[in-house]
Subunit: 207 residues, 2 copies
Amino acid sequence: MGNDISKVVIKRLPRYLRVLELFMEREVERVSSKELAIKLGSTASQVRQDFNCFGDFGQHGYGYKVKDLYAKIKEILGLNKKYSCILVGAGNIGQAIINYSKFSNIGFDIEAIFDINPKLVGVSFRGIEVCDVENLNDYIQKNDIDIAILCVPEIQTLQTYEILKNKVRGIWNFATVDLNPTDYTSVENVHLNDGLFTLVYFINNRN
Amino acid sequence: MGNDISKVVIKRLPRYLRVLELFMEREVERVSSKELAIKLGSTASQVRQDFNCFGDFGQHGYGYKVKDLYAKIKEILGLNKKYSCILVGAGNIGQAIINYSKFSNIGFDIEAIFDINPKLVGVSFRGIEVCDVENLNDYIQKNDIDIAILCVPEIQTLQTYEILKNKVRGIWNFATVDLNPTDYTSVENVHLNDGLFTLVYFINNRN
DNA sequence: TAGATTGTTAATCGATTAACAATC
DNA sequence: TAGATTGTTAATCGATTAACAATC
């Protein structure tokens, strides 16, 4: 794998996917780097540079086939595969997240849900019954889980992390405490408030 | 206002706040650029460069006073003021967002909630009764709203945007459609899935 | 073929890091 | 004062933009 692709490029790939989805909805077959750039508020040059990281999949004098490009970017991100997921913490955010998008449609299968709250244990979300978090460790040992979506309150974050660490391949962390990746476990720390705070800055500093 | 501060610096400010909060919890009084850098996985050089955008508030040979620095960064972001907010769309994400953090504690007062769903109209969240979205336009005209938190489904996004545009100072947009800022209205487009997708990339491309 | 648009190299721009004099 | 750490300038590194030959 060409492992030398810069992080800024990777972060742009999901945005390309979204733009390409729009083109696909409109049944557009081909698209040029310039058209993509306009939709993205970027430049044609950057678009071509980005795509060049992965080898050439455009056509001189023609542009890019929307469907092919879309499939290629999905493949690069690894979205052509399926991922087994669990949700830990089925409170407000947890519930919102699993309802947010059709995860299973895009390859993310929620296979189990855990919560500490006895009132939630036994309740079902999207057809999956919430288990007591007591069983998490056991479950993790017996099942191959790719991704844990972590939505527990601050105080429970670290102890849950200890259970998940080096057992799941990735943690999508909505808890307010930052978690560190390990050799085996990647981490994506989400801090929703950060975006709100920068929004406030830009509200106050229009230019 | 020194309006020439780069966006990458602004985006780091909320992270500084988080780290400083940790120091404050531990009642640490002073901190050096190096200590901050370690906590942030950054460099002392960068920390000092960042802070220099706003004038000097460190002390030679001493470092930074945690509380002062914290207050200063909050002030730069504009978090020393209060913001009147409304929530449009009280479904899963909407509810999760307003429950997520103690918004009113940090200066964000949710003053009204709107939804199109008759089953939600009249229900209360955090003491605020959900209004029919029919009343949104009227409400926006009569009240000075700083920020709209937009959590409506994809199909309702654009029509809601038309109502909010140039009436609120900022839109924190959780809808899947990207919205553009106007001269008056700043926009923060949140795409939760983007983070999940890059996580998947890093799972598959460990280095 | 002529026109269009790519892939790719070179130039520019901006952000990060290094270094050190200033100073508490 | 001596030690520490800042503020700030200069050097490096990386990312973006411009340019153009290659080619469909």
